[in-house]
């Protein structure tokens, strides 16, 4: 079966500025694709093109077999779209607004009421249903935007920063909602929150300067981290100097760094090529008889991977400095 979303060579130029420089990918049913990237990377522009709001300079976007530029109405019918900033008519109430969107989507009568009711329930809007949208908090406005995108239970969902402005509980709620819908839809979300990628996305794509710089599962991205499979270790008392020297000398160990968390006395043992080194560390600790309060294997850090991918390497220093010698 064809993928629900097919993007082929999308390019967008604004005058001399090339905002999106040839992005291609497909999203299958059941996939949740996360767009990651710095501000101005071209994430929103790409989403606007997929949603049919912006005409691409080159390339095409196909939703459920309908080319967005050739059969816009057909493509828009299968799409639920939350634009950046979740715009909604400020003088309308959520009830009136969702009813309007539902009517445009072709529902009427009891089916319309059922759809609106379901969407309201899913994003927990019932308490503000009859207040003008302009009087609502940022979190409620975002949820109104989500409700209108979900109203017709679309096969393709494009959500530009769906959890922006929500508090941690609401974020969790929206992520659960997305996970719950993921099985029978193709979903693209954009976010600045790296933990969100881990929480909801089956696949992540890092976009910067209008091109895709990385594309893989969150686990694959994390594996690029220099902290991938590093061992965090904190001694109960002062760490015996010999232990660290001994560990640092192991051929699979790249180096040892102090923990960068505030007030943390632990160290991070970095591995070469992400090899598992916890056995090495454990056996050294045991043989030296050091008292260890905490020892665990790190998965890696998405934020560091994100920085490495998206920041152009500074010429004055190496992009990935080899950690200096151990400390005690």
């Amino acid at each position: 079966m064809a993928p629900l979303i097919e993007i082929d060579g999308l390019v967008k130029r604004f005058g001399p500025i090339e905002a999106v420089r040839g992005i291609s990918f497909t999203v299958e049913r059941g996939e949740v694709l996360g767009f990651l990237g710095p501000n101005g990377a071209g994430k929103s522009t790409t989403m606007k093109m997929i949603a049919g709001f912006l005409a691409p300079t080159a390339g095409r976007a196909v939703l459920c077999g309908a080319d967005v530029s050739v059969e816009p109405l057909k493509a828009k019918r299968v799409l639920g779209y939350l634009p950046e900033g979740a715009p909604a008519y400020p003088d309308m109430t959520p009830a009136a607004f969702l009813t309007f969107v539902g009517r445009i989507r072709g529902f009427s009568g009891s089916e319309l009421a059922r759809r609106v009711g379901l969407a309201v329930e899913r994003v927990d809007l019932a308490s503000v249903l009859h207040q003008p949208i302009e009087t609502l908090s940022k979190g409620y406005k975002r949820r109104v935007g989500l409700a209108q995108a979900l109203l017709h239970d679309p096969e393709v969902l494009i959500l530009d920063e769906p959890t922006d402005g929500l508090d941690p509980n609401q974020k969790h709620q929206v992520r659960t909602l997305i996970q719950g819908m993921a099985a029978d839809k193709a979903i693209i979300i954009s976010t600045h929150i790296l933990e969100e990628v881990d929480a909801v996305c089956t696949r992540a794509m890092v976009i910067a300067r209008g091109t895709v710089l990385a594309d893989g599962t969150p686990a694959e991205l994390v594996a690029r981290s220099r902290y991938h499979n590093a061992v965090y270790m904190r001694a109960a008392g002062p760490m015996p100097r010999g232990v660290l020297d001994y560990i640092a000398g192991h051929p699979h160990v790249a180096g040892i760094e102090p923990s960068d968390r505030a007030g943390d006395t632990g160290v991070l043992v970095l591995s070469i090529d992400g090899r598992m080194i916890d056995d090495v560390v454990r056996s050294v600790v045991a043989s030296e008889g050091a008292q260890i309060a905490e020892l665990r294997v790190e998965r890696g850090r998405l934020d560091g991977v994100f920085r490495d991918i998206t920041m152009p390497p500074a010429p004055s220093r190496p992009a990935d400095p080899v950690p200096s010698a151990a400390i005690a």
Binding site: P83, P132, Q148
Partner: protein, 244 residues
């Protein structure tokens, strides 16, 4: 058609969701009345007709209609709702027509509320009701033409004040294009044929023709085609400017 009707309903309701509708209608009625009685010398003329009422409509519309049309697209772009609106399964043409018809219906409501003037002349004498009906229809058509101009201009900018000023300026050219204000400077360097063609675009002369009691087909076609042309331009402008 269904989509246009749904958009029409939402838009028309949105006028009444804010004080805009009430302010507009009150100002329109007060101004129309004041112009009729104080400037148009309704009583001194001693005639049971509404000539002194309709004469001022082009000038009333000149600044009241842009006040209505300025928000149509500028506000939609400013608040970003245009991105939501135009990614719903509607065509740009349906969106343009739905918004226009709602604004036009709203001016129709304001115009209809001037009916007490008609009752007044009916009470005072025996007016030619045919002329009055024709004048109302002509005024409504002309309001549509002003609105179509204003709606198209509103798609050009995110700034409602700019939309207002530009719409008023373009509308003024359409009112005055049959008068020496516009024609005299053109006569110096344009052929007579083109000058008279520009003169024929005057809202004023077409409207005055109608208020004399003859709702002639050419005048109706004139206003209808102005509406059509500007709605078409509106659609192109929305497509062109929507994402700026």
């Amino acid at each position: 058609m269904r989509a246009i009707a749904i958009i029409f309903r939402r838009e028309l309701a949105s006028y009444f969701a804010t004080p805009l509708a009430y302010v507009f209608i009150v100002i329109f009625l007060v101004m129309a009345g004041a112009l009729t009685f104080f400037v148009g010398n309704f009583f001194d003329r001693g005639q049971a007709d509404l000539q002194s009422f309709f004469t001022f409509h082009p000038w009333l519309y000149l600044f009241l209609i842009p006040a209505l049309s300025m928000r149509l697209w500028a506000e939609e772009r400013k608040t970003g709702t245009i991105e939501l609106f135009l990614t719903l399964p509607v065509t740009t043409a349906q969106a343009v027509i739905g918004k226009f018809l709602a604004a036009w219906a709203f001016t129709g409501i304001a115009l209809a509320l001037t009916f007490p003037l008609w009752l007044t002349v009916l009470f005072l004498g025996s007016p030619d009701n045919g002329v009055i009906v024709a004048s109302y229809l002509g005024s409504f058509l002309m309001a549509g033409a002003f609105l179509a101009v204003g709606a198209a201009v509103s798609a050009l900018t995110k700034n409602q004040v700019i939309a207002f000023v530009l719409a008023a300026a373009v509308s003024f050219l359409f009112i005055a294009s049959g008068t020496p204000i516009v024609l005299a400077p053109l006569q110096a360097w344009l052929p007579a044929g083109i000058v008279s063609m520009i003169g024929s675009y005057s809202f004023l002369s077409h409207f005055l023709g109608i208020t004399r009691g003859v709702l002639e087909l050419p005048d109706v076609i004139f206003f209808a085609s102005i509406i059509g042309v500007f709605l078409f331009a509106n659609t192109l402008l929305v497509e062109w400017k929507k994402a700026d």
